[in-house]
């Protein structure tokens, strides 16, 4: 049953490679971009890359647990973005900028 299904499906390597590329793009964006909004979006990319891995392995192993986890991750990510945007808005009110290079007051 499972083998027949697997044969019909897209091979898992494709999913994993796609997720890896997506993660790399996100990581590149987090490191290079100076606009905090883009950085936040890149973090979302990396999160979603991880979600794709979850889904892929879930389908591959026929275990629904991975999908349950992804739903959870999405909701947490939504909350996280909301918090992130809220911080960003407040930071913008104070500093009149969203450049990461200028928002460096959280240090020693």
């Amino acid at each position: 049953m499972r083998e027949r299904k697997v044969n019909k499906m897209i091979p898992i390597e494709f999913f994993l490679a796609f997720a890896a590329i997506l993660f790399a793009i996100g990581a590149y964006g987090v490191i290079t971009k100076t606009n905090t909004i883009i950085v936040l979006m890149c973090i979302e990319l990396m999160l979603n890359a991880a979600n794709i891995n979850f889904i892929a392995f879930s389908g591959f192993l026929g275990d629904a647990m991975g999908q349950v986890f992804v739903i959870m991750t999405i909701s947490v990510a939504a909350a996280e973005v909301a918090v992130g945007i809220a911080i960003l808005l407040n930071a913008y009110k104070i500093k009149k900028t969203t450049e990461t290079d200028s928002l460096t007051c959280m240090r020693w």
Binding site: A27, V30, T104, W108
Partner: protein, 683 residues
């Protein structure tokens, strides 16, 4: 019946100390004074009952003491420290006279310290603790317990000498500053205490115990290395020198006059300096192991006796004269104990029973002089306190002619002066003449006998000087023309001060007569030659025999004549003013006068030693502390702070950098794990 409760004797004043110390200000105007008096009076009553019970009990005849103790704690090595009490005739004598005299001094303090206000609470609490120390010392059953009470007294003397801290009425030099006098007393006695502690360690090593019953047991003494006992004795005597202010460490006692006069009376009569004499008397069984140790005791005593008396000759401060006379009288006590012990030691070596009995009289003389001195010195100090209270000065040149204005004080002080001078039939006469007789007697024995001839001569000269300076003081204060402060004096002191004076003067006159009623039988020490065990008793005379002995001895007449001559000279110099004392010292410029006025340069010597030696050591220690100890600590902290500063540069605050580091870290970790798997044998 009472003897089982001997531990209450020091405990009651200790309780008074706690109660007065905490609640004294709520106890009315005296600041707890009545409670302190009541406490010490109960102690006094209890000691009398205990002594009566002890002397009538079977324990008095054998083994000569009554002791109870319990284990306090045990060391892993098997040493046991016990705490308990040890009652023998010496302890009975000590607790009776210490508590009795302290009680009188406390009563006197009600008047003398009457204007101290809230500070009375502190005063009465501290003196109660002081008396606790002395009574505890008298009844302690082991050396360690004795040492604890010894140190309590050291602490109290510090606190009480410094009672007025920096505020002291006119003095003749800077050391009169009470705070520095207190510090000096504490540090100088501490030097002796270190020595005493060393002695206790040697004893613990030698005997494996510090209990009196163990240490004074003849079988134990015989089984221990003789040299260890001698070392222990010398070290213990070092402690005695510090506490009783003997020859090299004598200079703290005159400075201690900066405290209230009642405290001086306590220190000189009832507590503190008597502890040293008590310790030597207590340690007789081990001190008598070597005649050389006893010789040292006698020589130190003799030297102190003489030098202290010379310093009293030209002092103008009424309290300082008394302080030097205390040193001098303590010297007499040590001379008596040393001479007696010397004869006992030689008697043990040669097996001469008669010589031991003769030496035993030295012990009796020393202890009798200790008690007599307690009575007349307490009396003299309290009288001087009464004079100071009335005139507001301590300088005798400003007094003079006080006799008619202060009748009770002048008469009681006259009795005290006659007693200390050794005028016939006063208390001091009996003990002092016994001591002089002992010194001469000891000269006949042993190879070092000639030293006792010298000491005997010094003792006779000192007896002359004692009579002279005491009457110089008395005439300068109470006779002659009226001084500037006499005209404004307040007259006689209140009843609370004069009544103790009258009580004490009875004892200062009459206590010597106990010698005629078997005192030496109660308070003498004897040796059983077969076993070497020391025991109490064996006094050799009773009834009028002592009087016969005194007045058939030609040397007694020499002393009496010298004493009377000294009194007459003092009268002509300071009362009639027929002889100008300035004639003998070129009006205070002669070499001898200056030597005496600067106390034979003892304070100078102390300062030089402490500056040159102490300051050098202190500077070395300071250098090590600043540069090596502090250097290590500072270097460590600098290294930590510096590296922290450098590493904190990595914190840019820019999230991109942090993300890059995290990512780089993950990559590195990943590569490392891969490499590990690769080299360990594939995935």
């Amino acid at each position: 019946m009472f003897i089982e409760y001997t531990w209450l004797v020091p405990l009651i004043p200790a309780l008074c100390f706690v109660l007065v110390g905490f609640f004294g200000n709520k106890m009315g105007k005296t600041g707890g004074g009545y409670l302190a008096i009541a406490g010490v009076a109960v102690s006094c009553l209890l000691s009398v009952l205990i002594s009566y019970e002890f002397f009538t009990s079977a324990a008095y005849a054998s083994p000569g003491y009554y002791t109870e103790s319990m284990t306090w704690f045990t060391f892993p090595g098997g040493f046991e420290i016990t705490i308990g009490f040890y009652v023998d005739t010496l302890a009975c004598l000590m607790m009776m006279f210490a508590s009795f005299i302290s009680m009188l001094i406390f009563v006197y303090s009600l008047g003398y310290m009457g204007e101290e206000g809230k500070r009375k609470r502190r005063y009465f609490a501290e003196v109660a603790l002081f008396v606790t120390g002395m009574l505890g010392l008298a009844i302690s059953s082991s050396f360690i317990e004795m040492f604890i009470f010894w140190e309590i007294m050291g602490l109290c003397s510090y606190l009480l000498i410094g009672f007025w801290s920096f505020n002291h009425p006119e003095g003749d030099d800077k050391a009169d500053n009470a705070a520095s006098a207190a510090k000096k007393a504490f540090l100088v006695t501490r030097l002796g205490d270190v020595s005493l502690m060393g002695g206790l360690f040697v004893m613990l090593y030698a005997f494996g115990s510090l209990d009196y019953t163990v240490v004074f047991d003849a079988a134990n003494i015989a089984s221990v290395d003789h040299n260890l006992i001698i070392i222990a004795c010398l070290l213990i005597f070092g402690g005695v020198i510090g506490k009783s202010a003997q020859f090299p460490l004598l200079d703290w006692l005159p400075d201690a006059m900066a405290g209230p006069t009642t405290v001086s009376a306590l220190i000189h009569a009832a507590t503190m300096v008597k502890a040293g004499v008590y310790l030597v008397a207590r340690c007789f069984p081990i001190f008598c192991e070597a005649s050389s140790v006893m010789l040292l005791v006698a020589v130190i005593g003799g030297v102190t006796m003489f030098f202290a008396a010379t310093m009293a000759m030209n002092n103008m401060n009424i309290k300082k004269v008394l302080a030097y006379s205390t040193l001098s009288q303590l010297g007499y006590m040590f001379l008596a104990l040393g001479a007696g012990g010397y004869m006992i030691a030689i008697g043990i070596e040669t097996g001469d029973t008669a010589l031991i009995a003769a030496g035993s009289l030295g012990y009796t003389a020393g202890c009798l002089h200790m008690v007599n001195h307690a009575f007349f010195k307490a009396l003299l100090f309290l009288c001087s306190g009464s004079v100071i209270h009335s005139t507001g000065t301590e300088d005798m040149r400003e007094m003079g002619g006080l006799g008619p204005k202060m009748k009770v004080t002048s008469i009681t002080m006259l009795i005290g002066s006659l007693s200390i001078a050794g005028f016939p039939f006063f208390a001091g006469f009996f003990s002092k003449d016994l001591i002089i007789e002992q010194a001469l007697h000891a000269a006949d024995y042993g190879t070092a006998g000639w030293i006792f001839i010298v000491l005997w001569a010094l003792a006779i000269i000192t007896a002359f000087m004692t009579a002279f300076y005491m009457f110089r003081m008395w005439y300068m204060t109470f006779r002659g023309p009226e001084g500037p402060k006499t005209q404004h004096c307040h007259g006689e002191s209140p009843k609370s001060m004069t009544v103790p004076l009258m009580v004490l003067s009875i004892f200062a006159f009459g206590f010597g007569f106990v010698l005629l009623f078997g005192f030496d039988g109660l308070l003498s020490i004897n040796v059983d030659l077969a076993t070497g065990q020391f025991f109490v008793g064996g006094g050799h005379a009773e009834g009028l025999e002592y009087l016969v002995e005194f007045f058939t001895n030609p040397w007694t007449y020499l002393t009496i004549v010298l004493v009377i001559a000294a009194i007459i000279i003092a009268k002509f110099m300071y009362d009639k003013r027929k002889i100008n004392p300035g004639k003998f010292n070129k009006n205070g410029t002669s070499w001898l006068y200056r030597a005496l006025a600067s106390r034979w340069w003892f304070p100078e010597l102390y300062n030089q030693v402490s500056w040159k030696l102490g300051y050098g050591v202190a500077r070395g220690v300071d250098y090590v502390d600043r540069n090596i100890v502090d250097g290590a600590v500072n270097g460590l902290s600098n290294a930590v702070v510096g590296s922290g500063d450098i590493l904190s540069k990595a914190q840019t605050g820019n999230v991109r950098n942090y993300a890059a580091v995290v990512l780089g870290g993950i990559v590195v970790l990943f590569v490392v794990i891969l490499a590990l798997f690769y080299f360990m044998g594939g995935l």
